[in-house]
Amino acid sequence: MNSVAFILIAILTLAAALAAASLPKLIHAALSFAVTFVGVAAFFFLLGAEFVGLVQIFVYIGAVAVLIVFTILLTGRDAGKDRGFNWGGVAIAIAVFGGLIWAILKTQPLSIAAPPIEALTVRRIGEALMTSYVWPLQCVGVLLTAALIGALILVMNEER
């Protein structure tokens, strides 16, 4: 059943990602972007990292996608269509994809099947965050505060 789920999620994610990269209307692209991230969160669920999947949905759908649609609205409706398209980018992307696939298929697999593990509970993640990862956590807190202030200053009215 997991293989079926994997194929379905992979098709959904990649199709939504392609749509997000190629649709001419910005709002459609932003909504497909949200679907892509639901797909990635589903992958996290499949891999047993439920917490990360939930955080992914919470942050990307609840915050980033809403921010993006607001920005699209604020930058004017006539800018809603993207006309220019650079075909050089497509060539580079395909070349990078080919290189990555070549590298992936050439390496020896780490282990064929995933070893069974006990469920990664929120409590264990919390304990790890508060003990071994407390300094990174503090740094991320500072970073987020700085980003908050920086974003506010950037969008404040220039006239004032």
Partner: protein, 104 residues
């Protein structure tokens, strides 16, 4: 039965390249941001996959890296969109090709 690691890596490579495509070939600043976010998500998928299939799945290392990277990606998106807004106010455009004042 969870699918093998290779499949996850291939999907994440495909996602990364689609993000790269969006960032390189679209001219609207918001598309570039969307592409960057997709590339970050692909990297996160790799972190989680390597954690799950790696030698030490008892230690939540990959999960921690993914959580921090999501937090940083959120900060990046907020600042990036604020920049898009500020640029739009100043130049009345969001096309990155037209922002060429520093071009010699």
């Amino acid at each position: 039965m969870t699918p093998a690691l290779h499949l996850f890596l291939i999907v994440s490579a495909a996602l990364f390249c689609i993000g790269l495509l969006a960032a390189l070939s679209r001219r609207h600043a918001i598309f570039i941001l969307i592409g960057i976010e997709m590339m970050l998500a692909a990297a996160n998928l790799n972190f989680i996959a390597f954690w799950r299939f790696g030698p030490q799945p008892q230690q939540p290392i990959g999960v921690m890296v993914a959580i921090f990277s999501i937090a940083i990606a959120a900060a990046e998106a907020a600042v990036g969109l604020a920049l898009v807004l500020a640029v739009y106010r100043h130049y009345r455009t969001t096309n990155v090709d037209q922002l060429n004042q520093l071009k010699g």
